[in-house]
């Protein structure tokens, strides 16, 4: 019997090395090696930004966590770490369940390919097998509402049509853990309504949602837990009804 859907993050620290335009140049690097001691000591290695410091959290199936915090507080880095793209420098991340990062709708989308080809490609990237994609093709096509346009290249679509397609494919995966950077709002009013319903059902089906947003109303609407981040430090995971209290308290003791 496989374990239930869950996320466990313990003592997570993520540092982002910043390779400036200069340090990408081989000449600078070689010069630094050649000069060695004097100049080398001061400038060796690249600058590092500690994006997340000692973060702990536990989520279980049914948890819908809202991440709030100012720009640069580490929300996106946390989402990327949860998606498996960024590795922890310290601590551990353990996720049971199929992860669907909806951080960027345009992921794996090729504008010169047709709508159908894009559905296949994006589905493969999301971890579906060719057979799975073919089996769900009708459902996905119907959901886009693009009909005959699916046989045409994506670049001939309007921005809204492209967004419809990207959204349909990105949300076609049977995911257990859904990671979102801002709530996805695409297309015209009609489509927004369908998209909204789809996201809700996805959230219900998915065991866990982690949503980073600046929109507190949205968080109140969709989430039952909330976590506030500030300068890479996170508050404990809190019940949504204590949101006001969470906002009132300073996170860092001496801040």
């Amino acid at each position: 019997m496989s374990p239930p859907v869950s996320i466990r993050v313990s003592d997570l620290t993520v540092r982002l090395p910043v390779y400036g335009v200069d340090s990408k140049s081989l000449k600078k690097h070689l010069a630094r090696v050649a000069v060695g001691g004097s100049l080398g000591q001061a400038h060796h290695g690249s600058a590092e930004v500690t994006a997340i410091k000692g973060l702990n959290m536990q989520l279980k199936a049914g948890d819908r966590l809202g991440l709030i915090g100012h720009n640069g507080s580490g929300k996106t880095t946390l989402l990327r770490a949860l998606s498996g793209a960024y590795e922890p420098d310290q601590g551990e991340i353990e996720v049971h369940g199929r992860i669907a990062p909806l951080l960027d709708l345009s992921l794996g989308i090729d504008p010169s390919a047709t709508g159908l080809e894009n559905i296949r490609l994006r589905g493969r990237i999301a971890g579906m097998s060719s057979a799975e994609i073919e089996a769900r093709m009708d459902e996905i096509s119907a959901f886009t509402g693009l009909g005959p346009f699916l046989a045409m290249p994506l670049k001939s679509y309007s921005a809204g049509m492209q967004a419809r397609l990207a959204f349909a494919v990105a949300t076609a995966v049977d995911a257990d853990v859904l990671l979102m950077d801002e709530w996805i709002a695409v297309g015209d009013a009609d489509f927004q309504k369908i998209a909204h319903a789809r996201l809700l059902s996805l959230v219900e089906r998915a065991g866990i949602l982690v949503l980073a947003s600046h929109d507190l109303d949205l968080i109140r609407l969709y989430c039952n837990k909330v976590m506030r981040m500030e300068g890479g430090v996170a508050s404990p995971v809190t019940e949504i009804r204590k949101l006001d209290k969470l906002l009132a308290e300073p996170l860092v003791a001496n801040a």
């Binding site: 239930p4 922890p88 960027d104 010169s112």
Partner: protein, 278 residues
């Protein structure tokens, strides 16, 4: 709600641990080789999108190049076409694979940056994508090789298994070079320029078009220390019914082992940071 999928990411715990994680990445890419294949296939198809002949252009443009250079060198070197054309055809086709896998290696991670920065796809998936893409292209060139070998009668005296061994050893070698250029190009943006220049220079230093007439003096040096000569020799000579230098296979095998060891060690040390290079 139950699930079989599991992801565990841990902090730095020394080089031994990093090695285990690098091997895990390699294994995971093997398990999802189908994805690399889909991406590679998509790359080839999109390159020829909108053209009437489609990927058939790969075959056609190569055929013209082979014919042109074949005739030219047959005139220049006063050697019969029977001798030049098959030599040149095989030379250009296999040189194409070697140089493109290495040069396109430079873009492997740069082009995959959006996927690397928000999914847990294995890093090796994109290395195999580059290699497989060029194997698909080679598949289109096989038509030319078969045509030439049949037309000039080489199919009767060729040693196919030995040529396949040569091709396998060559692929083993260019794959690690491709990984090496991928990592270094992501970190240092001068590397693609250097790689392109080196490959251009090597094309003239390697008997791709021209036949090595003597192996003395400088020529001997060029041929012995040129790894690309050994790759071409190991594939081409058996197809032309000539005896290849047995040393070529030994050199390629040793180079593959040493090269993979060195490159994989680099991968072990840089794996975590590759996504941050981009």
């Amino acid at each position: 709600m139950q699930t079989a999928e599991h992801m565990l990411r841990t902090g730095r715990r020394g080089t031994g641990h990093e090695f285990t994680l690098a091997v895990a990445d390699l294994k995971a890419s093997g398990a999802r080789l189908g994805l690399s294949w889909s991406l590679a296939w998509h790359d080839v198809v999109s390159r020829y999108r909108g053209s009437i002949l489609g990927p058939l252009w790969i075959t056609l443009s190569m055929a013209f190049m082979v014919l042109g250079i074949g005739f030219l060198y047959s005139e220049l070197q006063h050697i019969s076409l029977t001798e030049t054309l098959p030599f040149v055809a095989l030379g250009i086709v296999f040189w194409g694979v070697i140089s493109l896998v290495i040069i396109e290696g430079c873009d492997t991670f740069v082009l995959a940056s959006s996927m690397l920065s928000q999914t847990s796809l294995p890093i090796f998936t994109f290395v195999w994508r580059t290699v497989l893409r060029n194997i698909v292209v080679l598949g289109h060139h096989v038509v030319i090789i078969v045509a030439v070998l049949i037309y000039f009668g080489f199919w009767r005296k060729m040693n196919l298994p030995l040529a396949v061994l040569g091709l396998a050893l060559t692929l083993a070698n260019i794959s690690w070079v491709s990984l090496a250029t991928a990592i270094t190009s992501a970190r240092f943006r001068d590397i693609p320029q250097i790689v392109t220049s080196v490959m251009q220079f090597s094309m003239f230093m390697t008997p791709v078009f021209w036949q090595p007439s003597s192996r003395s003096g400088l020529m001997h040096l060029v041929l012995t220390f040129n790894p690309f000569f050994h790759m071409l020799d190991a594939i081409r000579s058996p197809l032309l019914g000539q005896a290849p230098d047995p040393m070529s296979y030994a050199i390629l095998a040793v180079m593959a082992v040493v090269g993979w060891a060195g490159t994989f060690a680099t991968f072990v040390l840089t794996r975590r940071n590759i996504v941050h290079y981009l």
